[in-house]
Amino acid sequence: MSWVGSRVKRVEDPALLKGEGRFVDDIHLPGMLLAAVVRSPFAHARIAGIDASAALAIPGVHAVVTHADLPEAFRQPLPLLVPNPAIRYPVMQHVLAKDAVHFVGEAIALVLADDRYIAEDGVDLVVVDYEPLPAASDFRKAAAAGAPAAHAGRADNIAAEFAVGYGEADQAFARAAHIFKEELFQHRGAAHPMECRAMLAHQDTLTGTLTIWANTQAPHQLRDVYCRMTGAADDRVRVIAPNTGGGFGSKVQTYPEHIATAAAALLTKLPVKYIEDRREHFLSTHQERDQLWTVEIAVDGDGKVLGVRGSLMHDSGAYLPWGVITPFISATTMPGPYVIPAYRMKVTCVFTNKVATTPVRGAGRPQAAFAMERLMDRVARELGLDPAEVRRRNYVPADRMPYAVGLTFRDGSPVVYDSGDYPACQQLALDRAGYDGFRAEQASVRAEGRYLGIGIGSYIEGTGLGPFEGATVQVTPGGQILARVGSSDQGQGHRTMFAQIVADRLGVGPDKVTVTVGDSGGVAYGIGTFASRVAVNAGSSAHVAAGKVREKAIKIASHLLEAAEEDLDLGDGRVFVKGVPAVGKTLGEIAAFANGMPGFSMPAGITVGLEDTSYFTPQRSTYANGCHVAVVEVDVETGGVKILRYVTAHDCGTIINTMMVEGQVAGGVVHGIGNALFEWMRYDDDGQPLTVNFGEYLLPLATETPCIEQAHMQTPTPLNPLGVKGAGEGGTIPAAAAIAGAIDDALRPFGVKITQVPVTPEYLLDLIHKKS
């Protein structure tokens, strides 16, 4: 049997359920100092001076570290990791604010003390002399001429401008039977993992090695940024990501606080820990926030799309830590699962005095799906067609795979949908949802004054982005099978997944494979856990490395057993002679041989150690796809929306563990429900954040979450040996689109059209009021 494809229980869970998980805050080092951060209360201000003397006078405060106190290598901005020629002004945040602050919550100083209580008392006594400056808050206003500059001295707030597209869009519009235009405001809030950011830095005085424990999604990136800034050698810095309570994109980034905490450890020669609290998370951890789409669609008389064009404005926040990645993904995802003969999208990124925006689960794709699906619904409405039929007429048909869209993706490779059957996936979702029978139900309850609606959200997702991820598989003389994988886990169950993959190759159960993840000391190079890329990249690496170990085990056994390799088989942790299972060698025995004996030469052709390290490098992204169907009831008197049913059909290629994929999809949908109806990070005109706790910033709870009914398709991709595609974000991508479509459908008697998410009760009541 194959472990890949089985519902293997997560190896991570027993420890987590018993409270034996080890998160950064569970690590206590002797002499450790606790840090609290002095953060800007202003969205935009000059810093005229800092007086830390009162804080330093508190017993238990060891140091106050400001920009001026940092070693020279740390007195610089963080590097722009993903440059792009479209960026006009690559402004990056300093490790600690130098002479100005550009968002509420920007880190200015660390107070280091014996405990967090004392450190926070110290923060209260650090006197910062601010000279407040006008702030750019709403990105639409900030983009206009004459708006307050987010960065003093700049003529405008345009951070970057670029366009993507192909074909002759304007010609397509000139010959179109119908053209429909929409202006769509989309807000996505932030990621909000259960565990806020956490980090602990310690330089070992014996070896000089700096170790940083951080709940990061990208331990190697954190190491590399640190080394790039300070000139430290790779092997002097080790980053370990222990148990981590969620990330959803927010923990991919190397933050100024990471580098500042490391600097503080160097300065004090003591371990320094910083644990972010939730309010700080609302202020200082990256968000995704606002986009404004102005889009047009051209169709022929049958609703076949001729072209799409428009413009997209994106709120970048105060800095560009990941360049223009999010809006770039948005713009290149817009064509979605459809044949769009001509496409052009102009993108404008706007600086505001708010915390930077970087990818959150879906990474700009939910907005693209929302824009495209709203246009599809509009076409259906205007032409009197069923929304499912309009989509059916425009899907990329299965026989056109692989399908080259005509765009270049963020990694520079062409956007090519490698595999999948989009119409069949839609049909699967419609059948599961009982789409054809819904209209009768809708009509009957409408007679009772109830408003039910059904909506469809189709999507594609470029997953498994390169360049690589690494895995080492090793067998010890004791027979233990070890797998070290560079990428880190935030709760997804990566260790279970890798154990399944390795177990299949080595003929053992997953319980026999011990997996280590998230340690830059375990695998030399790594990229990170994001872009639904770990199964594709690291999974394939584990598969390849375990396969090499298998080959090597058979080769060595062939030598030991004096049998031809083709006469040997591997199973149950042994290599044995086919047909004579009693004659064989265990993997441990083979490993002991491969590890050599003192003074004896290795046999010809046999290399040292029963192990292999592989770095799988995909040639380009593989495209997952799916279709969601939402059924909602709208209370037209209160503006309340209740999701009655939610059905997903998706195709992430080969499924490694159905149970974990279902967990990912369900969690993703809940994230999307938050985007559709609840999550709104509000700021006032001065750039002051208003929703800085979960009382005001609403996450969906169990009461807002219907049972997520899931159907799976498996179209293996030819682009990696496992045939897998990413599954971590697809649940989120079409959710807001499907829910908005369902609300529209429910309110057809009023002629209401949703052009904003999240959909708040007052927004709905206003739309209904204007139409009735």
Binding site: P41, V104, Y117, E120, D121, D124, R279, E637, T638, G639, G640, K642, F678, R682, D684, D685, Q688, P689, L690, T691, V692, N693, G695, E696, L698, P700, L701, A702, T703, E704, T760, P761, E762, L765, D766, H769
Partner: protein
């Protein structure tokens, strides 16, 4: 959180004396009971007392029902009251309002007294990053009036404050003509709950009529046949663990198909729990026909004043009244 001293007095008299020493505003001493609201306020630096006086174990937590009605010891938890069989049977409005509040964890910890005294959810009040909040810093102004005010009140507001009272329980109790027993060093007094919270006027930082050194000892609710035919309708952004956008507590005495007497209070729209006597008067003798309910409900909006983002509440609260009356009226 600012450092403070925690006092754990042995009896109520000592607790009252400790608090009475302090002044009324910017009190250097504050009471803490369940702590579900106070601890948040401390953590966010909204309250910065020098001393916290614990009331744990000093106050009555009994739930008693007799021919006169209901008496709730002020230290009874939200969960205890909500689940009390006699409350569920005879005062379902109270149980409904409580179960629609907060989360199970909070309800296990929070007390009756703390619920009535919880502070507003106005984000400007709760974030010391804003200088302007007359409730937190008297005389500093009101950032909500010209700011993001979709959460704010449309009734009972002043030019100095438009914050809502967030309690669901208080809305239900006001509808049921509840009273509070207040105890101080000088003795006890009782007054209708509807008179307990003050309008903000020019002093929004003074939210109740409690004098320094006084505590609520108990809540009493008179027996009434209306108490059973009731409904607490809570319109909110999320179906659990969320404060009301608008709520309506309705208790009806019916005379056949007609309303003999209606008692109605609103939440989420007033600067205090908001009774609507004009609506009640219009409903007396009315049928449950939608038209007459709408006409009566419209009277709730007579002095309502939106500030932009919260304008929608004026219509929404009328609809909430209509629906709550319909639901209560349909109950046996």
């Amino acid at each position: 959180m600012h450092p403070f001293t925690l006092d754990r007095p042995r009896d109520l008299a000592a607790a009252l004396a400790l608090r009475a020493q302090a002044g009324r505003n910017d009190a250097p001493a504050e009471y803490i009971a369940g702590g579900t609201d106070m601890v948040q306020l401390l953590q966010e630096y909204v309250r910065q007392p020098e001393r916290l006086v614990s009331l744990a174990g000093l106050l009555d937590n009994r739930i008693e029902i007799g021919p006169q009605g209901l008496r709730l010891g002020v230290a009874a938890t939200m969960a205890e009251v909500a689940a009390d069989p006699a409350v569920v049977e005879q005062f379902p409005l109270i149980s409904e309002a409580l179960l629609n509040s907060a989360s199970p964890q909070v309800r296990n910890q929070a007390t009756m007294g703390g619920n009535l005294l919880q502070r507003t959810r106005c984000p400007y009040f709760r974030d010391v990053g804003y200088a302007a909040c007359n409730k937190r810093a008297p005389g500093s102004g009101c950032a909500a009036i010209g700011g993001e005010n979709r959460w704010h009140a449309v009734l009972g507001t002043s030019d100095d404050c438009i914050a809502t009272n967030p309690s669901d329980l208080a809305v239900a109790l006001v509808a049921l003509d509840a009273a509070v027993e207040i105890r101080g060093a000088g003795g006890s007094r009782s007054l209708p709950l509807v008179d307990f919270h003050r309008l903000p006027a020019a002093t929004p930082h003074i939210e109740t009529v409690l004098e320094p050194g006084e505590v609520i000892a108990a809540i009493t609710v008179p027996a009434s046949s209306a108490a059973r035919r009731s409904h607490y309708l809570k319109v909110r952004d999320r179906a659990s663990f969320e404060f009301a956008v608008v709520s309506a507590a309705v208790a009806l005495e019916m005379d056949g198909a007609r309303i003999r007497q209606a008692r109605i209070a609103l939440g989420g729209v007033g600067t205090k729990p908001w009774r609507v006597p004009r609506v009640e008067a219009a409903l007396a003798g009315a049928s449950l026909e939608p038209q007459s309910l709408r006409q009566a409900a419209a009277l709730a909006a007579e002095n309502a004043h939106g500030r932009g983002h919260n304008d929608f509440k004026i219509e929404l609260m009328q609809r909430a009244i209509v629906r709550a009356v319909e639901i209560a009226g349909a109950r046996a």
